[in-house]
Symmetry: C2
Subunit: 359 residues, 2 copies
């Protein structure tokens, strides 16, 4: 494939290895992998998961559930706080597939219980430390109110507790992730014992480092299919497990600052940055090869992004070697957002895979 | 229009006032407004500009040039460093429209001069302080080499110098923007006097505060059609001139932290943030009304974004008033990126306008 403009490249073999490893670990724990498809948002990439025993999926919006239901997935969990304004679309989806929604508060259950025309499953969201959405694990009165409301609702069937331990994104090594995982598991287990309901969890860092999921009915990681620089920094993966790269043409060089400029900006990578050794970086630089790409080149990183420009800080050695007209690889900081910006992938054979945004 | 999910709303009257003001100022200066269409990337929004005498446009990629050429625009300037890998697409475009490219270095002129089959115009990019791309205004040897190469190239016609004074984005009031503008103008004027070539500039902050453009052949701002929170903070506009807002449904409330959670995350707003009073914010909160939206509510802002979630810090008063199931408005930090994420607009009458990404 001849690359002439910013192009998102996907290494199917790496992605399949990531899927296989997670599916194997779940299966060994007698836990179900219900992968989150918000990362790839692609029917073609989604199909790969079927080869590893996956037949239920997780998504983060009603629109995404409609997209994958249209592709034949018939058991979908929307792991985003149920939006009462979308009840009509939920009804239409629940008419044709097994739909599971997430309740993060009592107000929504009250609002939609009487408006449901078709049966839905529901999980109750538990905030185990992410401080984003859901019931605190010790808010027993509210949790019991939610359980009672669901019990009274004719069309809603409670299937368990769910927590996305997003606080794992603050970890910077496997030990710190294990601490988050153990704490989250402890909180959910005490609810499990108290209310005799199954428990489930979601985040990629915890699911990547946990040795088993014996206590969990299901796990719902998403990012692990691709991984990214942020996950490598957290400790979820190694750089050679990252399955996507942005190929970006070099369009200018700045001799004074030893920077190179690529076509590849905020509309391609997203503006997600992470702090590395005190500096915010927006991507790691790799060399593209005939069969994929290498590991990050030392001292080379995306220093700044404008809409279409990427400014790459490179070493003196790389500055001399990289020419205008070359194409370099940039490992994304957050692959979910980069995929969402790009809206399509090309595999190493040059075959296009579409993303929801460009479908 | 009933809003049930994240929706980008556009106020045509505000946008038209922004266009009219810029067109009027350019016309008074006998300078040509060649607006940058990278902000809206919409054929429908682009058509509004024709009512203000605009018949040439600026874009930031070959793909965008193709998109607008397809819509009948026949004089397009690609204000992004010419990418030698795209010469075939440039040739095809130059066959049917008047195409102007931007040269930011000597290497690209050398690479493509012999590959052009159709005539193109060219501007030479001058880096007046943005430290991104282009020749330093005092790099006379290189500038003269570029001029000579263009002169020798059969198919390239030099039409002037161009500078995007991106350093204006560091300004925090009109006075600071004026300083940037005057410095940029001074640098370009000295080149104009030395080489007898027209000069042009681009950035929205400078174009917004400058009282006239008498010395400039053309101006190429883009963001001004919508403006955004960043431009208001820089000093380019007032909040009531901002022409787009993200409508976001409230899906959860957190009593302890006095935060509300909306469906509206990094895939909707982009992850662009700005520092305000020491805190990074990702959007300003407004109330939606029957005929548009209000100005930012004091002490309310988007505190954090994940892929689909927006976490809004609100005052105690607002916390009590905002309910799950409400829809609130978020003024984007950087409207170009939000528009690129959303891929479509709805005007106040509910009529959809498409963006390149969803076309």
């Amino acid at each position: 494939m001849q690359i002439t403009r910013p192009t998102l490249i996907i290494d199917e073999a790496k992605c399949r290895r990531n899927i296989a490893a997670m599916a194997h670990k779940a299966s060994n724990s007698n836990s179900e992998l219900i992968p989150h498809f918000k990362t790839h948002q692609s029917k073609e990439v989604g199909a790969w998961f079927k080869d590893y025993g996956v037949n239920k999926i997780t998504v983060s919006s009603v629109e995404m559930a409609e997209f994958f239901a249209d592709d034949g997935w018939d058991d979908i969990y929307i792991a985003f706080p149920c939006n009462p304004l979308e009840v009509e679309r939920i009804n239409r989806l629940a008419e044709k597939i097994t739909l599971t929604v997430l309740f993060s508060n009592v107000a929504v259950i009250e609002k939609i219980a009487s408006q449901l025309r078709n049966d839905v499953n529901a999980r109750i969201e538990i905030d185990t430390g992410a401080d984003r959405t859901g019931f605190k694990a010790t808010s027993f009165n509210e949790i019991e109110e939610a359980i009672a409301l669901i019990h009274d609702a004719e069309r809603i069937h409670l299937v368990g507790f769910y927590s996305h331990a997003g606080q794992s994104y603050s970890a910077r090594n496997k030990k710190e992730i294990h601490t988050v995982f153990d704490d989250m598991k402890g909180q959910l287990l005490s609810l499990h014992q108290k209310y005799k309901l199954p428990i489930s969890c979601g985040d990629t860092p915890c699911c990547s480092v946990a040795s088993h999921f014996d206590e969990f009915d299901s796990i719902h990681p998403g990012n692990f299919v691709f991984y990214d620089v942020m996950q490598a920094q957290i400790g979820s993966c190694s750089f050679d497990e990252i399955g996507v790269v942005l190929a970006a043409p070099v369009v200018d060089k700045n001799e004074l600052s030893k920077e190179i400029v690529v076509h590849g900006g905020g509309v391609h990578l997203s503006k997600e940055g992470i702090k590395k050794e005190g500096v915010i970086i927006y991507g790691s630089v790799v060399k593209l090869t005939n069969d994929g790409w290498g590991v990050p080149i030392e001292d080379c990183y995306v220093k700044a992004l404008s809409q279409e420009h990427g400014i790459i800080k490179v070493s003196t050695k790389e500055y001399a070697e990289i020419e205008i007209g070359d194409v370099i690889g940039i490992l994304p900081i957050h692959s979910c957002l980069t995929a969402d910006c790009m809206g399509a992938y090309y595999d190493l054979a040059g075959i296009k895979k579409n993303h929801l945004k460009h479908s």
